[in-house]
């Protein structure tokens, strides 16, 4: 029987990375000083799971390293050592190192061992330090403390272990033989098997374990080590561990099982199916969560006795998973199942209707079809939702970055994260992380001032960095606010002039000055530091966000802080669209960006400089975009008298789109144009209409850009030449 461990290995990596994140988050939460025991337990458990998994998969270096972390964590959680910033930082470093090792292992390589060795030494040193001053905390010499001491110190003679596994032990992927072998690594083991529970041969179920053992372990192993061997099966057996009397001691005979001194820990199998390490992650349930018998034999080897050595059973109870998996909240799956149920009912109803149909059932048929439509739409929406993940995944990295950076820069920063449950598409999220990290770094490096400076300015010494995510219309909005120094307009302008983006004497309206920061090569950082000087600028951030079909806006008040707003579409999602015709083609505008549709009245139309058309609308004037012109469709020409105008809004800009005909409204699924082609200015994507043809979805911001580019090609060309010249000078 051979098991493809590869599939479990992938799950192990996934879970380990999640564990690391948990540890990191926990460690950062500990920072506040008053250590929360529950958090410490969580961190410890995460480390322990990684260690266990690493051991199972033969990743010795990983297991060894994690063991060192675990030792320290164990002492911290038991209060035997104080949670100092030093310890937390060391553990954070270790988390990084472990992540590196895991990544290396995932790629099939080995991480640089030096760092691990160095960290192991430091971990060990810290543990030893904690040991030195007073081995026993200043607790009174109560019996209790003696007992706890006993736990720590090795029993000189060894241990007697009563091990009575529950019959279902094999089902959890555990194997007594492996446990005994593991125990044998601690010292000499003699085993005595009790086969008294064995049923008659006819009643024997070979997949059940009916044997129990009394094991004697000689040698100096301490109790913790012994317990560790049985840690994975703790909930699936009765376990008694009692010290053997030292050899030759004149003491009474070895403590019997259940003697008052022996810390009995017989946990009845109250919750046989609970994976004791896994329930931490229960709130983010895995699709395939059922603990399957990963290694226990199936029917085909039914003749095998349930004795130790039933072969192959070396897997921990891990959750099997497909090669590429996604973690989905079970609520979402439940909702889907409900919907499919409804769909089936509707279908059978329609079926029945079709059996013997007559005119008078037309109404019923309509109802049924309406229901079918509703079911389908809901199902579609919910299937899409499976890909949606809460933004907390992207947030997860930020506390660490703020922690490390503020230490490094000597600044005090409070990070506030809001809207953690706001969901967005998984792919968007993955691409969002880098820009987000960059912006946070920027804020800390250039934005928030050092405490002394802040005091002088009359601000609280601790700066605030606030990140909030929420849904607005068909978009997700992420706001990043800091109360730092803001961006100096003068400095930006000077830089832009130096780079040749602006002619001397040329002025820019205020709102455009800040946009300069998105130009390549313009950074307000006085010098490249190792924090921000990575050759990545705001231009890259902007490009990344544009690539996702979103945009980014910046507002800043010198002295008061900077506000960045990122708008991102929920790609792959469905949007409510207004369909309309221009020339022979159908286009779609997201309903959320439409303010009003109106019939054009000639007298409200005016022209500026004989070119740009403006429409008098609600106390103001609206620039008009003739879509036919923009799309190079033959224009019937003349006035805009016939035709309709759709007033649309993008951020603060409003324009009127001149269209030929308004069609219906419907929900459309956004499809990417980039996947197989490329980004096309003016279009957010495409969709497939009911008849199978493709219709393009307009992107208002892009359309406005397009119109401007078409109107002022000369200006644009001049700008390009200016940039190129500036570039040439720099390289010379």
């Amino acid at each position: 029987m051979s098991i493809d461990m590869g599939q479990f290995l992938q799950t192990f990596f996934e879970e380990s990375f999640e564990g690391l994140q948990e540890m990191e988050a926990g460690l950062l939460a500990l920072d506040s000083g008053d250590p929360d025991t529950e958090t410490l337990h969580t961190i410890f458990r995460a480390a322990h799971s990684i260690k266990g998994g690493a051991g199972t998969f033969g990743l010795q270096a990983l297991a060894g390293f994690t063991h060192h972390m675990e030792t320290l964590l164990d002492r911290l959680r038991e209060g035997r050592q104080a949670v100092t910033p030093e310890a937390v930082n060391l553990l954070l470093e270790s988390v990084d190192c472990l992540r590196g090792m895991l990544e290396a292992a995932q790629d099939g390589g080995e991480a640089d061992p030096e760092q691990a060795v160095a960290l192991e030494k430091r971990l060990a040193a810290l543990v030893a330090e904690g040991n030195d001053p007073s081995p026993v905390p200043d607790a009174p010499e109560s019996e209790e403390s003696q007992a706890s001491q006993a736990v720590d110190s090795p029993a000189p003679g060894g241990w007697r272990i009563g091990f009575r596994p529950e019959p279902h032990l094999f089902m959890t992927g555990n194997d007594p033989l492996r446990l005994v072998e593991e125990l044998a690594e601690l010292g000499e083991v003699t085993a005595e098997c009790d086969s008294g529970q064995l049923p008659a041969f006819g009643d024997l179920d070979p997949e059940q374990c009916h044997l129990s053992w009394t094991l004697t372990l000689q040698g100096g192993a301490d109790e913790d080590a012994v317990r560790e061997v049985f840690e994975w099966v703790e909930d699936d057996c009765e376990l008694t561990i009692s010290p053997l009397a030292p050899e030759g001691a004149e003491d009474e005979p070895p403590a019997a099982e259940g003697s008052p001194d022996a810390p009995e820990e017989s946990t009845a199998a109250a919750a046989p199916d609970v994976d004791d390490e896994g329930d931490e992650a229960a709130d983010a349930a895995v699709v395939s969560e059922a603990p399957a018998p990963s290694s226990a034999g199936h029917g085909d080897n039914g003749n095998q006795p349930p004795a130790p050595g039933a072969g192959g059973g070396n897997g921990q109870p891990r959750k099997p998973a497909a090669a590429s998996s996604i973690r989905v909240n079970t609520d979402k799956i439940d909702a889907l199942i409900d919907m499919v149920g409804e769909l089936v009912i509707t279908q059978s109803m329609l079926n029945q209707l079709g059996e013997d149909f007559s005119e008078d059932k037309l109404e019923q048929l309509r109802d049924g079809l309406g229901q079918l439509e509703r079911n389908t739409r809901e199902l579609q929406e919910n299937v899409m939702r499976i890909r949606m993940v809460p933004i907390s995944f992207a947030y997860a990295r930020l506390p660490r970055i703020v922690h490390d950076l503020s230490d490094k820069l000597g600044k005090q920063v409070e990070l506030k994260l809001e809207g953690e449950q706001t969901e967005l598409d998984k792919t968007v999220m993955e691409k969002l992380i880098d820009p987000l990290v960059h912006l946070v770094r920027n804020s800390l490096d250039h934005g928030i001032e050092p405490p002394a400076q802040r005091r002088e300015l009359g601000k609280p010494e601790t700066g605030t960095l606030e990140i909030e995510a929420y849904h607005k219309g068909g978009y997700i909005v992420i706001e990043i606010n800091d109360d730092g120094a803001g961006i100096s307009r003068d400095k930006l302008l000077a830089k832009a002039r130096a780079a040749g983006l602006l002619q001397a004497g040329e002025e820019l309206p205020d709102e455009q000055v800040l946009d300069l920061i998105f130009h390549p090569g313009l950074s307000t950082a006085e010098e490249a530091t190792d924090v921000s000087g990575r050759g990545v600028g705001m231009d890259v951030v902007k490009r990344n966000i544009r690539q996702l079909g979103g945009n980014i806006n910046l507002r800043s008040q010198p002295g008061e802080g900077t506000q960045l707003t990122i708008h991102l579409p929920l790609t792959l999602s469905i949007l409510d669209g207004q369909l309309f015709r221009v020339g022979g083609q159908v286009y779609i505008v997201p309903l959320v960006s439409i303010i009003e549709s109106l019939q054009i009245q000639r007298e409200k139309l005016s022209r500026v400089a004989g070119k740009a058309e403006l429409y008098h609308w609600r106390e103001g004037h609206l620039p008009v975009l003739r879509l036919r012109e923009l799309f190079n469709e033959p224009d019937p020409g003349g006035e805009l008298a016939n035709g309709l105008m759709v007033v649309v809004e993008d951020d603060d800009r409003r324009v009127g789109l001149h269209v030929d005909e308004l069609l219906g409204q419907q929900q459309v699924v956004i499809k990417s144009l980039e996947a197989n082609y490329q980004r096309v200015t003016g279009f957010a994507g495409a969709t497939i209409l009911g008849d199978g043809t493709v219709a393009l979805i307009l992107d208002i911001a892009g359309l406005v850009d397009l119109a401007q580019a078409q109107r002022k090609p000369a200006d644009a060309a001049a700008m390009r030449v200016a940039t190129e010249e500036a570039h040439g000078e720099q390289t010379q």
Binding site: N632, L673, N676, Y677, Q678, V680, G682, T693, V694
Partner: protein, 170 residues
């Protein structure tokens, strides 16, 4: 489609035709072009495409390939040949190409008509001669002689790469 050509059968018998050595060929006027058959995803009759405004003329637009939006380019126009009205023989050959960053993409090529499937061993592919600046040879992978006919084997990846350059400034 017509039967296997003699040379292809020969090649197959001799075992010289390797995995990637089969080519689907199609006509543009009197010329015959070939693409690696393993790259061909699907062949469709021409049934229109949704034009994308402000893209080069040879980009005929996008079509729906079972839920995926795929761009379609007219090979004649791409090569600067006189365009021709689409007929019942006009087909769209959907090929997989590697875009920037080795990302796989699908694009459609509008061609006059399909022709054959040939086996052409790699070593029978000859590099295209230099035409100077009269004809662009960037997307030609090689030339092969089959049954007195010259087959121009295309480098599909370049077709897309080139195309991106052409539209970048739009």
């Amino acid at each position: 489609m017509s039967e296997m050509s003699a040379s292809q059968q020969d090649a197959a018998l001799q075992g010289t035709v390797g995995e990637g050595d089969q080519y689907l060929t199609f006509n543009l006027g009197d010329e015959e072009y070939g693409v690696d058959i393993l790259r061909v995803q699907e062949i469709k009759g021409w049934s229109g495409a949704t034009p994308i405004p402000n893209t080069p003329d040879y980009v005929k637009g996008v079509i729906n390939m079972r839920g995926t939006i795929v761009p379609v380019i007219d090979l004649r126009e791409r090569f600067g040949m006189p365009s021709r009205e689409y007929t019942q023989f006009t087909v769209v050959v959907l090929v997989r190409v590697l875009g920037p960053g080795d990302k796989e993409r699908i694009m459609g090529l509008v061609v006059d008509a399909l022709s054959e499937v040939y086996g052409i061993p790699e070593d029978e592919l000859r590099p295209p001669p230099e035409f100077g600046s009269i004809i662009r040879t960037d997307f030609i992978r090689g030339l092969a002689q089959v049954d007195e006919k010259m087959i121009i084997v295309l480098d599909a990846d370049r077709l897309l790469a080139e195309e991106e350059l052409a539209t970048e400034s739009v």
